[in-house]
């Protein structure tokens, strides 16, 4: 079940340091979001990080084979968790998204992403003899993706649900489904979208309209986007400087510690800082990707690729939200948004990635 302790030394240290850098930037950002105060966010996030570290070590030490064996268990556990959330969940902000576990409010949907990817990795690993994957063989992963999507969507948490669905689709695509199917489905969606639009309720259509033009409702739903764009735009080339972001310190920016942390960062550090942050996340994304080219085991490849993609993808979605490219759907900025579940799940993901990046592959690794 466990690897040798010495194998901890073989982890990809560069990747690990980049992780620490990103987390540290997030800490500084939370510190500035509180107006130059560790309380209430930076200190709490740091405590969580420290508390979660043993879990990271635990995962780093796991044999990939062990993980391979328990994928179904994890999936079932997560699905149960989602069901518990639905029936006994803790309601906040108009949605049932959390269950209380040992003093923490756990957002199970965050872990659904991991379990889905691991499950798919095993599923396609087993199919690895097949040259290409047809529609029939994709049906099980597709159904499971849709099941998880629905369980999360009804909370309601459309943002997380969509991420789950997209990760599922990316995994299927990566695993090698015939190109004709994704192309066909994209065409279908494109053709059906006018019809889908009429299916939306008026308030949902209204939300989309406000996203397209926030000035329709500058004090209501458009307020977030407008203020976020002002914060980012006023950052300019080099930013207003550390702790000098007025949009943040004067509370013009709502939800600045969660969904809009990027706006706080960008207001202080400007276009230059933002590009540097994007580059850091890009490198962080590409390190596991490059590793996948050297790997032959489908299980390893899918986990490394899709989970690394997940972090980068969430980063892009979050930033796109804050700059008005996407509607505000509540996707956290990995390692930088304040929140335990997102931090824990991303730490688990990174532990998994570091674990798999450090294994010496053998031919019959998972048989």
């Amino acid at each position: 079940m466990f690897k040798d302790f010495k194998s901890l030394l073989n982890i990809n240290w560069i990747y690990f340091f980049i992780l620490l850098i990103i987390f540290w930037v997030g800490e500084i950002n939370l510190y500035s979001a509180a107006g130059g105060n560790l309380e209430p966010w930076a200190i709490n996030q740091m405590k969580r990080f420290i508390i979660f570290l043993p879990i990271v070590f635990f995962i780093l030490l796991l044999q990939p084979k062990f993980i391979f064996n328990i994928t179904e268990l994890i999936l079932i556990a997560v699905m149960l968790g989602l069901l518990i959330t639905l029936f006994f969940g803790y309601t906040g902000m108009g949605a049932k998204r959390w269950i209380r576990v040992g003093g923490f409010n756990l957002q199970v949907s965050e872990f659904a992403k991991i379990s889905l990817v691991i499950f798919m990795a095993k599923y396609f690993h087993k199919l690895n003899a097949q040259k290409t994957i047809g529609l029939i063989r994709s049906i099980i992963p597709l159904l499971i993706s849709i099941a998880l999507f629905l369980l999360v969507a009804v909370q309601p948490d459309l943002g997380t649900a969509l991420i789950i669905l997209i990760l599922g689709l990316v995994a299927i695509f990566y695993a090698g489904i015939k190109l004709i199917y994704p192309i066909l489905s994209l065409l279908l969606i494109a053709l059906a979208s006018p019809f889908l639009w009429t299916l939306l309720k008026p308030y949902q259509q209204n939300r989309v309209m406000i996203f397209l033009n926030p000035d329709l409702d500058p004090l209501g739903k458009g307020y977030h986007i407008i203020q976020s764009k002002i914060a980012i735009g006023s950052g300019g080339l080099n930013g207003n400087g550390f702790l000098e972001g007025s949009q943040s310190s004067l509370d013009f920016l709502p939800e600045k510690e969660t969904d809009f942390v990027f706006a706080i960062f960008s207001e202080q550090f400007g276009f230059t800082g933002s590009l540097i942050l994007i580059s850091i996340f890009l490198i962080f994304f590409l390190i596991p990707i490059f590793k996948t080219f050297k790997l032959t085991q489908v299980f390893n490849k899918i986990i490394l690729f899709v989970l690394s993609f997940k972090i980068f993808f969430e980063f892009l979605i979050n930033v796109s939200m804050t700059i008005g490219l996407l509607p505000v759907v509540g996707v956290a900025l990995p390692f930088m948004s304040y929140g335990g579940s997102s931090l824990l799940s991303n730490m688990i993901i990174c532990a998994l990635l570091m674990n798999l990046m450090s294994v010496e592959e053998k031919k019959r690794m998972f048989s």
């Binding site: 097949q130 764009k229 980012i232 735009g233 949009q247 004067l250 933002s274 032959t296 490219l325």
Partner: protein, 590 residues
């Protein structure tokens, strides 16, 4: 081996797919970067402006209004403290409860629902003015202060007018109609005309505020600058004295002019009002003022227009002299009436004046002399000369509702009455009746023109305003003839105002002319009626009593123009008042 081969192909597919997805990921990051470039570099100025607009709140602070002084530096308009009940929404969540409590305790008569509505959208950190507070209310509030957390009393400024008798000149302040003005502005008379000069420059406090409008810190303070002060030509002593000699029983007015520079030394109108009521928001008094049929807001010296009566006679006399229609020796026989085109025109003196020359005609105010002269006069020439000598002109002295009055001519009659001019109307016009309308200030200016030899300084109310000269030069001999006659009217027996010397022999010696301005045109048959002569005609149909005089007689400086509405003859009522005022001005050397 087969399987292995297939597996390797499958790995290749994965790597190819990896390339596709990674490329999509890179494209997405590029899009995000371009968007950031657009926000932070291309539209930086726009968003920076928005950010500043978000956080900087500009608060204007009212400047002190400039003081107004009389010509001896006595304060006649100043600033006084004012206390107001205000509420700060941020200090108590249930602020409306406190408003109701205050309303009950102090009996402020607030409109609670109205205030509640306004407060809903009001900034929580800015004081909202509930009501003014007088001393009793302040004391009552202080006793119960512990009941309130969000209600406070703040001090601000209001206008203070210590002398009621200047209200007709200074005017008053009112709420500004446009929203840009945060504080009251002058809305009447000098307060209005010189508002820009008096108002000063508001201060500016730039505050950094958070999203709820709470002030985080002061960025900069620009102190308000007090408005410029204004020095009037009015002499407070004379103004008060003149008001005191105006009879309370009749409407009327007095203007005193310095003929050397046109300074208006006093300008009174009765009834008058107290401008302070507008500052004190005494609504009952304000409403009764606005609706009073006696029109106390109406400055009769400036905006009251009446037929001048006989005080107008120097003008046709000057025209006759100028056109050589008459000379000083020309004599006319006054039988009490004359006729023109089958109509009779009567002298005020029923038996007539007998043989009349120019001096006697003015001194005794013979109408017939002027009727005979007027038969030769072209009305347009008369109107032009009168206009040159200060009548029929608008004086922009800073008071509201300036008007021109009227000395008729042919063109005026054609365009206003659509009728041609009759020479008979020239006869009536030349004795100051008919269409003529002049204000007491215009009459004072006309006599200033006579005394100054035609060119006279335009009347003014502001001390350091340079004097503007109006009018046209008179022939000195003509001027002398007129002044001689005006002197005789007061100084020689049979003069219409000779009685003044007998009544007050110690007063300064004056010259001048009496006038009786007819309110209703007297018909021929009424003339014969005894009723007309008795004092029992209804008051409102009585003639206005007019007098314009000047003193001292040898080197005149002061001109007083008096009208007493429905006062009767000029010699009986207006002349003694003018004499008193001229004497006061002379004795006090104002």
């Amino acid at each position: 081996m087969e399987k292995n081969k297939a597996s390797q192909d499958s790995i290749k597919i994965l790597n190819r797919r990896s390339f596709i997805i990674t490329t999509i990921g890179l494209i997405l990051s590029l899009i995000v970067s371009i968007r950031l470039f657009s926000l932070q570099i291309l539209n930086f100025n726009f968003y920076q402006k928005k950010s500043v607009e978000n956080k900087v709140a500009v608060k204007a602070t009212a400047p002190l209004r400039g003081d107004i002084f009389d010509n001896e530096k006595n304060l006649v308009a100043a600033n006084a403290s004012l206390y107001e009940f205000v509420i700060y929404k941020n200090l108590n969540k249930n602020y409306m409860d406190e408003v109701s409590k205050l309303n009950k305790l102090i009996k402020l008569d607030l409109k609670i629902s109205n205030i509640s509505e306004k407060l809903k959208s009001f900034n929580a950190y800015t004081p909202f003015i509930l009501s003014r507070a007088n001393w009793q209310q302040i004391v009552e509030f202080e006793k119960n202060k512990f009941l309130f957390t969000s209600v406070k009393i703040i001090e601000s400024k209001k206008r203070y007018y210590p002398h009621k008798n200047l209200s007709q000149i200074i005017g008053y302040m009112g709420k500004s109609s446009d929203d840009k003005h945060l504080y009251p502005k002058g809305v009447f008379h000098l307060e209005k005309t010189y508002d820009e000069l008096l108002q000063g420059r508001p201060g500016k406090i730039l505050n950094e505020v958070n999203s709820r409008g709470k002030v985080i810190r002061e960025i900069s303070i620009e102190e308000p600058i007090k408005g410029n002060s204004l020095e009037l030509t009015i002499n407070l002593k004379l103004q008060n004295y003149a008001q005191s000699v105006l009879p309370l029983s009749n409407k009327g007015s007095i203007v005193v002019l310095n003929r050397f520079d046109g300074s208006i030394l006093s300008m009174n109108s009765n009834p008058t009002f107290d401008a302070q009521v507008f500052e004190d928001r005494d609504n009952d008094t304000i409403n009764s003022l606005l609706n009073d049929p006696e029109k106390p807001l109406f400055n009769r010296a400036f905006t009251g227009f009446y037929p001048p009566g006989s005080v107008f006679k120097p003008i046709p006399a000057l025209l006759g002299l100028k056109k050589n229609m008459i000379n000083e020796k020309t004599e006319v026989f006054c039988s009490g009436s004359t006729s023109l085109a089958d109509r009779n025109y009567y002298c005020w003196k029923k038996g007539g004046h007998g043989i009349v020359n120019l001096k006697k005609a003015i001194k005794e105010s013979c109408d017939c002399y002027f009727y005979e002269l007027a038969k030769k006069i072209n009305i347009d020439d008369l109107s032009d000369l009168a206009t040159n000598l200060g009548l029929n002109s608008t004086y922009n002295i800073g008071l509201s509702n300036a008007q021109k009055g009227l000395i008729p001519n042919k063109k005026w009659k054609k365009s206003n009455l659509e009728q041609g001019w009759y020479q008979g109307e020239t006869l009536i016009t030349s004795i100051g009746q008919g269409y003529n309308l002049t204000s007491p200030l215009q009459l004072a200016s006309m006599y200033s023109a006579l005394l100054n030899g035609g060119k006279f300084p335009s009347p003014k109310l502001i001390k350091n305003e340079p004097s503007k000269y109006l009018g046209e030069e008179l022939n000195p001999n003509d001027q002398k003839a007129i002044l001689n006659a005006l002197k005789a009217a007061v100084q020689e027996p049979l003069g219409t105002a000779y009685k003044l010397n007998l009544d007050n022999p110690n007063f300064v010696k004056i010259g001048g002319k009496t006038g009786t301005s007819q309110v209703v045109r007297i018909k021929e048959e009424d003339r014969e009626d005894d009723l007309y002569k008795t004092k029992e005609i209804e008051d409102r149909f009585k003639d206005h009593s007019v007098f314009v005089g000047y003193a001292p007689i040898d080197d005149p400086k002061y001109i007083a123009s008096v009208i007493i509405e429905n006062g009767g003859s000029g010699s009986a009522v207006a002349a003694p008042i003018a004499h008193k005022v001229l004497n006061f001005a002379y004795q006090e050397n104002v």
